[in-house]
Symmetry: none
Subunit: 196 residues, 4 copies
Amino acid sequence: MGAVRQDRRAELLGIAGRLFAERGFATTTVREIADAAGILSGSLYHHFDSKESMVDEILRGFLDRLRAAYERVLAERPDPRAALTALVTVSFESMDSDGDAIAIFQNEAAHLAQFERFGYLAEVAAELERCWLGVLERGQRDGVFRADLRVPLVYRFIRDTVWVAVRWYDPEGTLGAEEIAAQYLTILCQGIVAQR
Amino acid sequence: MGAVRQDRRAELLGIAGRLFAERGFATTTVREIADAAGILSGSLYHHFDSKESMVDEILRGFLDRLRAAYERVLAERPDPRAALTALVTVSFESMDSDGDAIAIFQNEAAHLAQFERFGYLAEVAAELERCWLGVLERGQRDGVFRADLRVPLVYRFIRDTVWVAVRWYDPEGTLGAEEIAAQYLTILCQGIVAQR
Amino acid sequence: MGAVRQDRRAELLGIAGRLFAERGFATTTVREIADAAGILSGSLYHHFDSKESMVDEILRGFLDRLRAAYERVLAERPDPRAALTALVTVSFESMDSDGDAIAIFQNEAAHLAQFERFGYLAEVAAELERCWLGVLERGQRDGVFRADLRVPLVYRFIRDTVWVAVRWYDPEGTLGAEEIAAQYLTILCQGIVAQR
Amino acid sequence: MGAVRQDRRAELLGIAGRLFAERGFATTTVREIADAAGILSGSLYHHFDSKESMVDEILRGFLDRLRAAYERVLAERPDPRAALTALVTVSFESMDSDGDAIAIFQNEAAHLAQFERFGYLAEVAAELERCWLGVLERGQRDGVFRADLRVPLVYRFIRDTVWVAVRWYDPEGTLGAEEIAAQYLTILCQGIVAQR
DNA sequence: CATGAATGAGAGTTCATTCAT
DNA sequence: GATGAATGAACTCTCATTCAT
């Protein structure tokens, strides 16, 4: 039945995702994916149209989940500071479930977005950006966040720090995503300078 | 004379660097570099042994300059907070002169470092890391920086934010590297939460 | 099944061998081999790792067969003159089955042996040389062969004559390998000067 | 004056000849020749039209000398056995002065002769062949050489042995060309089997 | 579903040759 | 005479993809 088929797809996408994340999309060959899956490269085409459609599926899945999570956060936390905390935490935590996709999105999105097929990447990115900007602007208006900071700049700093963390984050390591999020939030909110 | 030759090399490296930064090293073809330079692909080999030797030269130049700048900072600023400020500022400012190299280093170093020829990348990265860690640890010991933060984590946050900024930084834009550094330092040191 | 695959490999190796023998290894292009096989050059790499691995396989096959044949000769003929006759005959006869490989070995071995991968060529050559030298020395000791001849020199003369014959030998021609061997043995043993 | 120019040409041809002999014509690059001569590859074209014209000149010089030597032999020795001895000796001795050219002729003539420019190679080869065949036939007719041998076959055996010797002959070694010729003549005339 | 032979475009690189300086 | 930058064609090899079996 279709369930087995879906499982196989998911399994293959997992393998492909890991390799894309490790070696880059362009640098990973279809043969490497097939090798890792224990089949021949031609056989992959029974499951996917092309190498592109594999990244496509991987990225769509991740972005859908992320968007949903962000929307939930915004719906549940009217308070800007609580919302910011939740966005940061949710983002860091997604490294556990979607680490490969995050890495791929980080490393390849700019390049892929040039092609029509991946035009949605820019759209989703803009959507996600609006979530952050909304929270930051609201916080600034409410006097919760400092007024002397340029919100778009703050957003970029946060986004970069949060997502690039996949490069060194180890899901099996002792330092969990939650703790990393907590430390980052401390810095982000209070700074690293000791209080007098 | 050699000066002309050096100029031509530098010119070609500039073109190659721009393309490597934009499209990635593996994705950029030698023919594209040659096209951009207005010569044929084979002619590049009059100046460089290989595509690899081009990135090599680009990265070595950048890392040498950066290392020297960091050492100068450490030699001139005994005060941890002043040193941190200077390291951050120097790093952001290097985007103006070495933006392409930074982008290449960010995007390709992990991959390239696997090859013997690029083993030095890991070494230099470790050296640079020691600069930051030294400053942060000294600051923490002196009570200048909060004691409840894990220094290696703080280092990674800073490093990621500083270097990934090349992705959106525009050297011709209205927002200068210095101002970006200043804003980031405000966040990093005092946090984004408004003082009561 | 594997048999078909082996057949195809053998077929392609035959084509490659013929061209390598005719035009030389370096001068023969992969495209020429593919053209002669009626496929595209890239398709050859489905069967072989590289052009080098093609010669490798060709030479290994030939040398294995030749070594085995020489060993059989030495095992079956204790008499030096009979052994010499058999070695010469076996060698000439191998032109019928391994003409291309002989030509390649003659023309390329010295060059190829410089590369590590082909180091075995020198070893096998030395092994084959020992077969001939053993027979010649034994014959000289037994008084069957003239004592005033330098055995290493005699060996080289024989070796050169026997193997360079592939350059003009025509497997389809009226003069068979056996007859050529017989004529050469007459000269080699009795000389061309008429007996008084 | 022209003498200096001629000297330089000869010097460059010597270098080219050595490399062609060692590595093969196709495999030797113009740059290698230039490197060995201490100039840049482009500079070679002040002396020679092309790489081809270098081999051309090398081969022509050698073949002219050899033809003259053979004609002198035939003119001076009416006796077939003396003529044969002289041809063999002259040929072996030419390894001292023309070793590289002999090697090139051996290894490349068949290939080069396909091109119009090198059509003369086949002609000269035929001319040289006639010298040997004439002597052998005359000797057979006179009853000096055995009647049961096919002269064209004997010629090929001699030719191959004589010329392929360049592959192992060492002009600086202890074994001189003259002695090699003597040993070969012993075998060729009397055979290697001890007289009862 | 998978195999494996083949495609066809394009990759990095080499090299004989030219030519302005 | 020599330099050195450039040409242009050809080379080996890679790879996403197709398709008959």
